[in-house]
Symmetry: D2
């Protein structure tokens, strides 16, 4: 039986548990997220656009993002939550997007209230947002297009990150939940969780709250869960670890003209064969 | 002007320089290879299949390998050398492959004398090889299909790695060069360079020799160049560094429920924005 | 609910009905197959490779064939039966292929006992076949890899088309059914159905029989069904109709320097907007 | 040598000839356009989205359109002119798009002054346009990104089709040419060429004018050329011919349960093998 990953994710949220997810950009990083014990994979548009070496600015297309999410889903047994920017256009695009992602077995999509073409949330200040009405239309279009009842749509508000304050974040989160969003992601780039916690203090719980503590990393899952957070996403740390490691390793190999000094710091070939599932195919001889 | 990367690679080989290349699997890792100062990128089928989390066993398709090579080529100014397994079938497949890769601006392709479907060279012992005649047909088909004179085809022999010895490696290398290969890759999985050096000692220089010192990593570029090697490929170290770093980082984040302890060991967001080329698009605010 | 198309196809075969399918090569032609009232779409490797304008000779890759089948599946409510050549390699490739196609919601795959790389069945004479043992391994690998019980694997024998006769066709069909194939396709390029009917006369019914009456087109569905055939595939007529129409229309437009004379013979724009589903998006004004 | 198709197209325009192009949606239809004697292929976004069976409304992604254009370019020796909607977003998207298309060997791209997400020009009335300033920024971004001097960017104005009149069309055409467009496409959905001819009467010739006589099909290439038109595009007739032929053929086969009655009206298998280039691979036996 093909595992119903959306059902699993939905059940965990309903049971009041806090789901912990980590970002990935390809089948390999997704498999490492699963191996580390995370509950879900965040198919991060920032990670995926970085892996293509192009700006996180609506340049990678929906079909490329979807292909990356598909490869991740193929590689793991845990659910994939796909970061879908602002839905790649308007309500029509969101409808199409939902049908495509759902048919690939992706458990959830997340769309945000920034305008198309989007810019990464950590770029510039006070980015323009869509109106609440426009964005609720997208949520309704998305929810109206799904074919299974389990599939989830997460609505992400950039109200805090664009400097519009806690009340606007609250107003948007409520509207998005009422429009049918299965959860609301409240993004923040503050150095502490204060504004997120302030928003949570006023939240009536009409939908699960998701956070991405990239900048307020002193807050732990435990603390965030205690404040009512139901999903914590470590959105981009895998690729940041990979970049640092690849940079320093490649520089050292180039400089020394041998890999002898890096061998003990990199994964042996056998570990990669195992990650590939090569054991199903042939006997590894090295 | 679109840089003629094949011309550049060809000129370096002709001038008697030793080209040093490193393996990559996507646009990002290719850009890091370039940033570390390597002369060329090896679009490694092992790295690419690992990034897809599937066995290195002719499962990733030509169109997927080509798309990865294309993304690499888009990201860098140095030449891409594409590892094309055994050419994805017979001579007809090689002809088509050469036309496709050449049109994408890939500088060189490398095909090996293993049978289809191939298995990674480090798996099992004594893998079956194609006959010299069959493989020379492929080389001729490939060389006969290229549309520019600069494009290079590298023929790789698995004679040593499959246990057939130095004389067979020599015989095959000579035949492949005579069939038109622009260079010959002599692969070995010995712990020292001895068998490769023995082969080089008997080589009459009719084509440049390429090596991949994955297992005999004590030998340096300098030593290999002194023995006559014209291209050294560090084929899979970037992804092995990435795997180790992603594994340990993800495990630590999962265990501690915070990224605080890993922040100093991973690349900051700003470094990734720079790698993306985000500076061309917007002002980075974090 | 996402329709369980494999279940639907399986049920029809089990109920003893004769399924009539037609070949397609993209979302549009699949939608036209459905509109014409066929029971299923044959994602023909011949049609798909023709649409790419490359030989039907294992040049189009599995990922390209799969993408075409996916687009077809997205466009229609009837099941897609994907023509998968010889499984794109060996048993490992078949396992991977089955998982990929099944996850895309394709109802059935069909693999044939020709060697890789394959050549279209109407090319040359006496093409080499895989041994019964090898091909049964592929069937078992495929059946062992599916995750739902509904998914179907059809085994196609080229025994007749390669000149090996009715008894060999029978022997292979029996072995393939015993190895787990859900149906057996007996291909023939004779001008009449005689050899197919001879084979059916000796068939004990251990699995449904599928035929492709490209060359023996005088035989009707009714006659074939009466002889026990459970699936008739008109494999390539849509694209052959398209080629003739596009050729003559383009030639006439080019010659006359106006489309005035062809307007009445081609579909109006409005018909194409309807086929696209444009009605869901905007009001058509022409 | 890889043919420099952009140079060829540029030279023809410079020499004052009138280029006649026809729309295609895949490698096959492009090859038929070439075979019919057209000078160039129009990689029509309407044809391509129809072939995917999705609305012509910014749903097909840039990477899918590009892949279709690439397959066309692979199949023919004449230049491909890619219909790129409104550039898939803003100036950043246009820059990226130009680099991608140019690297694939596409001779020219065409962008239009409609807003993203676009709707087909024949849908609704009075569609919103981008401001002249915004669109000129896109043109400059595109022209500033190309790497060869031959590559062409065609700017398309929807001023007439959206009901803004001849003077606005003229004002926009002049601005677009001054911003660097290599040609200006003036689109109209009138039943006669009158408004297009009125605009041409006032045109000072600062850039070549392109027209698409889908609705005013009584006007011939000769007449349009005499009025100063330098490129005439028959944008969608191939696929409209294909739809009509596939529909009627499939319906007849389904109804009669045999292809006997359609055989004489469809292309024989041998013609398709020739279109595939099968002759390079094997001997056709049917």
């Amino acid at each position: 039986m093909i595992p119903n990953k959306a059902r699993k994710l939905r059940d965990e949220l309903k049971a009041g548990r806090t789901v912990v997810a980590a970002g990935a950009h390809d089948g390999l990083s997704a498999r490492l997220v699963e191996a580390a014990g995370f509950d879900a994979v965040w198919a991060s548009s920032f990670e995926i656009s970085t892996s293509h070496a192009v700006p996180d600015a609506s340049i990678v297309t929906m079909s490329e993002y979807l292909e990356a999410a598909r490869a991740m889903n193929y590689s793991v047994r845990i659910p994939i939550i796909a970061d879908c920017d602002n839905g790649f256009g308007n309500s029509t695009n969101v409808s199409y997007m939902v049908r495509r992602y759902e048919l690939e077995g992706i458990a959830a999509v997340c769309i945000e209230d920034k305008r198309f073409p989007k810019l990464n949330s950590f770029i510039g200040e006070g980015q323009a947002l869509e109106s609440v009405e426009e964005f609720c239309e997208k949520i309704k279009a998305g929810k109206g297009s799904q074919q299974t009842e389990e599939f989830l749509l997460i609505a992400r508000t950039e109200a805090l990150i664009s400097g519009r304050g806690v009340d606007e974040a609250l107003r948007r989160a409520e509207a998005y939940a009422d429009a049918g969003a299965d959860a609301v992601l409240v993004h923040s780039k503050a150095r502490t969780a204060d504004e997120v916690l302030a928003m949570l203090g006023k939240w009536d719980g009409r939908a699960p709250i998701v956070v991405v503590p990239t900048t307020y990393y002193e807050s732990t899952v435990e603390e965030l869960a205690a404040a009512g957070v139901q999903m914590v996403i470590y959105a981009n740390h895998a690729i940041r670890a990979a970049v640092r490691a690849m940079s320093t390793t490649l520089a050292e190999v180039r400089e020394r003209g041998t890999t002898a000094s890096v061998e003990s710091r990199i994964a042996p070939l056998g570990e990669l064969f195992e990650l590939q599932g090569m054991g199903d195919v042939g006997r590894i001889s090295i």
